[in-house]
């Protein structure tokens, strides 16, 4: 069965509070996730990145695949991009390019 989906985002599990972009989306795009749920994209967001399905407060768990993948460090509105700038691991820190070793 082919997936026939108009929305360029995936809801991976019914309890998730994030959506995954199937393509790059642009601020201002609106689409229906289900017959009674719509999403208004607040920021340009790349393929594979996450958007908030609803408003989340700092300290709230981020749920993807039906499982917690970390906690919010700042509030986000519905349709906002969720990433390292507003969430963190509950286990172990990530090393980003900002943490790259600069051997001088």
């Amino acid at each position: 069965m082919k997936r026939l989906q108009a929305a360029p985002v995936l809801l991976l599990h019914p309890t998730d509070n994030v959506l995954v972009c199937c393509r790059a989306v642009r601020a201002g795009e609106r689409f229906d996730i289900s017959p009674d749920e719509a999403l208004h994209v607040l920021q340009d967001t790349e393929l594979g990145h996450k958007l908030a399905r609803r408003a989340l407060a700092a300290g709230e768990k981020v749920i993807k695949y039906g499982a917690p993948i970390g906690s919010m460090t700042a509030a986000v509105q519905a349709g906002g991009w969720i990433h390292l700038h507003n969430m963190k691991s509950d286990y172990i820190g990530a090393h980003t390019r900002a943490a790259r070793v600069d051997a001088t």
């Binding site: 991976l12 199937c22 393509r23 970390g70 390292l84 963190k88 172990i92």
Partner: protein, 400 residues
Amino acid sequence: MSFQGYLRRDGRKGIRNVVAVAYLVECAHHVARRIVDHCDDPDVHLIGFPGCYPNEYALRMMKALTTHPNVGAVLLVSLGCESFNREALAAHVAASARPVETIVIQKAGGTRRATDLGVITAKAMKQNIADTAVRVPMQLSELVVGTICGGSDGTSGITANPAVGRAFDRLVAAGATCIFEETGEMIGCEGPMAVRASTPEVGEAIVASIAKAETYYRAMGFGSFAPGNAEGGLSSQEEKSAGAYVKSGSSSIVGVIKPAEIPEVPGLYLLDVVPDGAPKFGFPNISDNAEIVELMACGAHLTLFTTGRGSVVGSAIAPVIKVTGNPETYRRMSEDMDVNAGRILEGESDLGEVADEIVALVEAVAGGQLTRSEDLGHREFILTYKSFEPSGPGCFPRGA
């Protein structure tokens, strides 16, 4: 459906017929590489261990790799004064009834003489194993298949990894042996994973292996999370873990093994790659090929490699099938990718269809079809220092 394999005199069956040229210390690397370069033969592969200090793990790994079922003959290249036990390794290979020769550079008279001798020896070995190859029918149930992810992004966990998971389910159902690994990338998944254990002892081993990984990575200061993972949309170790874990599919987990432990009965295994004891020797796997090498040492005939950002690597000894989950990566790097799982995201296919394609490709590659990385000449290999205790009783089922 069956394909033609290579029957080894120790009774195991391989899917390639390779001469392994192995350097036993970095000081012999150049000569070994020149030997392989001068042979200019897609079936003469370079492997080796760079360290001069003795290490049981490295010897055990080299024993397992030089008697891998895809290997038909072995040429060892020693400088002469290193501590690697070349006699023990040569005796182990000889006991498997494979041709084995050792060139000691200091005895041969230096770089040029050792290289010339090595080229003649390796070419003769290649001819010999090609002429005397015993081709036999081989079934999916006789395959050992590994999986690894590298360069993961936000697409990996929803396309390529679950598609490989479904392919794993089909391979296990067909009686194959499947191995997934990198316990450092399963942090946060230990609860659901332990539920899938075939025995309480295996469940305990799963939980213990993940706890060990978390302790070890904390001591290293970083999780198994690269900058590219973040650029691809992954925000935390546990998000990456959840996506990586689905490569294992849904079969019962029958055992937890360590590098160079070869499963004796079919089924799905977790490979615990994090060293035992106090953290030393640095990161458990310094790059993806270190994990592929450990899968091969556990007998993997080939490896399913999922990637989002777009890894290009292959491997010495055992073919690597590259599955990308990202349609943009596929368009940009299609020459390097065997399977485009990214079309799931674009609504052009689904997980089941991609899993079917992966299983069909496993059969084709096992039957001799070259993977993209093989065809492009990728033969990466890396082996570094580690230390492990043997797995305790109950960690995996023993054969009759």
